[in-house]
Symmetry: D3
Subunit: 252 residues, 6 copies
């Protein structure tokens, strides 16, 4: 199984964090292909930054069309999800939806721990869209300014553990998601410090994607995730244009 | 008051329909500036087409930054909303949210009449995101293939009126939205044929935007629609890059 | 365009506040007609007071039947809404629903600032009924006893600004509604002190009513806001009785 | 125990139906006092008719203040509920909320059978307000014109039984409410014809009111159903004015 | 009327508390039969303990099949509800659903006061399942370790009253439920100390059950609470096996 | 990895169907241990049958305590979930929650195809409890009587495919779950006949359980899924008693 894992942001250091955790999580037979957004932001905190990232991800998805068995969009907040599912004929998912499922299968009340305050409304939008908003009891976040994005999990490990603990004690959380690709791998280090199951977005994403790919339940030849119906279009990035053409041919 | 009205699609004939209705709806003192997406699709039926359109709209918003008093995104389904609000220091809204408000102020149960079946899940997403999903009792749609997008309202007027009538009789609708920029202006012609108030997306968009601009309640210097916080970025379209820089300076 | 703006309470000084803001908000071509409830309370804090006010408003609506192009019920909490829409053949709305729409078009998370603690459950009922309860993150209120109702905005300006600020900082509000006719006009004075858009109920009411009247989408000849079907009735106020008779004739 | 049962409508023949069922349902030690609205409509089908009825009920509640141990508002749709609870220092409830509770305690999915199509949106509003909207799977109604309101249950018995049967078969209802005071007593006659428990609004109202009165859990000295705080008022019906004065004295 | 009141737990001292309040609450003509779970826990705090209790209750329900007119499951959290309704041909209810109805008929916003922190997620599940989750504003609980379960109401009376008071002041509760059979009878002692109506689960259970039994609206011959359809089964407790056989015969 | 897969019903032929699909779905390194309920029903259609099954499953879970790395409860409707999670110190999940996650990660609107009409309300309860009720657009079911439960998928393959097709065409489903252990393995045979992804409950259960076990995020030492706090208990099945004792020791 060959999985494309896309960092929707331009931060190569976060790509390396993602890669490390993806490789540790993937099954022996799984090959992981990493890609990093060519344009966009260092990380996503807002709805607009997410929109820009979604465009960058779309190009990467299209460029890998036909070459992979599944695609993981590796930024919490799931930029471009669910729209991007329409342009993939293999399972494509975001790490938020994967993490939410992994959490919901372990506990009733879910808490999310996030790296910045500004990021939380976008997360809430994403969670509500997925339909599990009633299960998420809190999104707690670091309040201080971040240094380098690739160092967040080191700089703020104690703060993040404290936020998780507070979510358990005060919000009644049964399970905690450490949200955001910059925290990839942190769960392994801190799970002993948090008294409920901890979910790592990247790990959950890789494993859930493997699971869904493995189900092999067939593609979208109908419904709202089938390829967009053919119609005049103009000036799309060439790979995207080509992928759409291929998909639309397949859908007939 | 100077309003930018953006057709998120590449269809110039729909831009002309939009323009005609926008001019009829705008107050005497309002100046309407039209813009058409330079890349993208002839019209939007799917979540992915909407995502592409959102990118095209973002560029146009940025290009007109500082030159207009309000922005209307003139495709039902509100591509890029609410993300685009972050990059505008004047009110910016979509015609779906405007039409929903215009409808909700007139009746309790709202029906939407749409131009294609495939379009309806995307509309439902958009309506639910706005928070008025509990008020929308049905989305009824044309089931036949469309001819030219600019001619839909002429080709299917009877069908559309029948769909509206069925929504009133069978779904208990108190008000009907004729959804989609290609139907701009149709409400004026058919309101006598439909026994409840009819809402035209473009007309509602222009008038609601005038209303909100007129309120002049101040901008977003805090909260989740303030300008995205400065952080490294790369290879954004130049106008967008410039607009972000200006906004971030202003936010300080 | 001729708009009837009704103060559902007996407080003439609040009527003057409403009038002043309505005149400042209305378009040049709009004529504003003010009316004050002849019976009822100085202001509304409870569901029962709202019920009494609704009866008083109904009489005023009926007395002006056929003489105006739109009606605004100018008390937050929308006494008599949506019932009163059935006895008006022109658009009739409340300032809460208008303010909610104006707010929802500007931000995702809405806060309401209110003049008394007791008033908040009634507001919550009204907001939930309109269907935008999921968007309203908090209703914060003055906790101290009020002096004269006409002086609330002067006596408590600092408190109200502080409540708005707390709603932004602690509740994550993107937009704030200053609720209640006694606060009419306050938004103009304080918008610089609040870092998100501020919505004035009266201003929003006038402008949203103008917008909906301007849409001119047709009346309710069917659905749940059509005139009540004729049936025996007894001892209604004469104007109401006459208005019902006229409406029922028109509906045939 | 002395219970006031109010017909919110002017229809004396419906009052007699209500009385007959109330007497059959009441415990031996319960005294039932009937009252009929002095002004208003023959029956309520719309939100506005309900608003008028609420005013008429308020006067009757006030006139009996201090003389009864509980009050039942005997029209489905619960005119004036919950506002009227503020002006009663004994339990006061509507037959819809009582019937919903009686139904919800017997089955998961509730169907409502109603006497007219126009009546159903008002019922839906009332059900949603009470908070059990998710339990009500359908409101089915007579589609034909009614003859005399007091004869509906005789004229349409077969139709009503058929509607109940369809609700069970097609909507998956576990329990059926025969809604509306004009149907008082019908459940006794038809329960053998309907394969799930049948709830009569008047019978449920009397028994639920007896139950709540019997609980004797104390009144509302705080919270949103305490008496409205004193403030200037003008020209209320004298009994209402007197009741308010008494309540406000008691609340101190 | 003969009512079976089941303590789902093995605690005989709580059975005595239940009995005392049940006898005080029941109508003169009502006979109350008490039963105590033969296996299980001293009291229920968790979902699993509730599951075990549900099994114990099922046996007791079956053993009394045909001998009583109604069944009350007397533990807050309603173990086995709604499943147990399928094996009873007389009304069967839990004290949570009864208390919620009694509360919802008196106030809009309901608070629950509970005996332990761990118990609250189970209560929340139960409340949400019943469909009145939107009405319950808080569940407040004793934070200290309990002594003997039969003495909780004596040991913690002041704490419980304080929790109720805080629910009114801080959560805006209009009515308070003292939750849990160990608190049976407490409401009578403390209602003067709490400024809103107080609901006792056992008292509400007995009175609501009397009310529903009295309605006599017919049984479940169809729908999801009819007897389970016959199919092979093995090794059920003999009384349960016999009751199922009888019910399935009756359903034909 | 060693997974315990429990058939909550007494039907050995269904256990064989489960086993076959579990083995085909499991990763090479996964060992699958099957267990069949010793008491209960041939299959579960109702809430009560599910309650009985939950008790039987609890015993099996306890008997395997400490011997497996994860537990799958292999009946749609998830008998005993979430309660049983409290008595397992390894991940334990039901096939409904697993299938819902697998479906929600592939499409927005989910349809469920079920083997009997009576089964659907129980499924709806389970889906709503999990929190994804808003995503499930329909539960369609076989209407005819079943022959042997082990032969349902053969006897009704065409009917089931037609139900799935109707869910896509008429309900707008993006993904279809073939629900119920008796349908284990059917998805492999029919996926080409259904134009959207098809989810098999057993396959999804095995793969999701592998994924969550693999995450290894730590256990529940706090929150509502920690072991039930120690308290007097009586006459539990010995294995259950022992497992509880062990868990409670571990939790300290």
């Amino acid at each position: 199984m060959r999985l494309l894992v896309i960092n929707p942001n331009i931060s190569e250091d976060v790509t390396r964090l993602i890669e490390r955790e993806a490789l540790r999580s993937a099954a022996p037979a799984t090959e992981v292909v990493l890609a990093t957004a060519r344009h966009g932001f260092e990380y996503i905190e807002t709805r607009f930054e997410s929109l820009v990232a979604a465009g960058a991800v779309a190009e990467l998805v299209a460029e890998h069309h036909g070459q992979v068995d599944g695609v993981l969009v590796a930024a919490f907040g799931d930029p471009g999800i669910p729209a991007l599912k329409e342009i993939s004929d293999v399972p494509l998912m975001g790490i938020t939806e994967a993490a939410l499922c992994a959490a919901a299968l372990q506990g009733q009340r879910i808490a999310v721990v996030a790296i910045s305050d500004r990021i939380t409304p976008w997360y809430r939008d994403c969670i509500d869209r997925f339909g599990l908003g009633s299960r998420v009891v809190s999104i707690r976040s670091i309040k201080e300014a971040l240094g380098g994005i690739g160092a967040v999990q080191d700089d703020f490990q104690d703060v993040l553990v404290d936020l998780a603990g507070a979510a358990v004690r005060e919000d009644g959380a049964d399970v905690v998601i450490l949200a955001g690709a910059p925290l990839a791998g942190l769960a392994r280090n801190v799970r002993g410090l948090i008294p409920v199951p901890v979910v790592d977005g990247i790990a959950a994403g890789v494993r859930m994607l493997e699971a869904v790919c493995g189900l092999d339940g067939g593609g979208h030849r109908a419904g709202s995730f089938a390829a967009p119906p053919p119609k005049p279009r103009r000036m799309l990035p060439p790979a995207l244009d080509a992928a759409l053409a291929t998909l639309q041919k397949g859908a007939r």
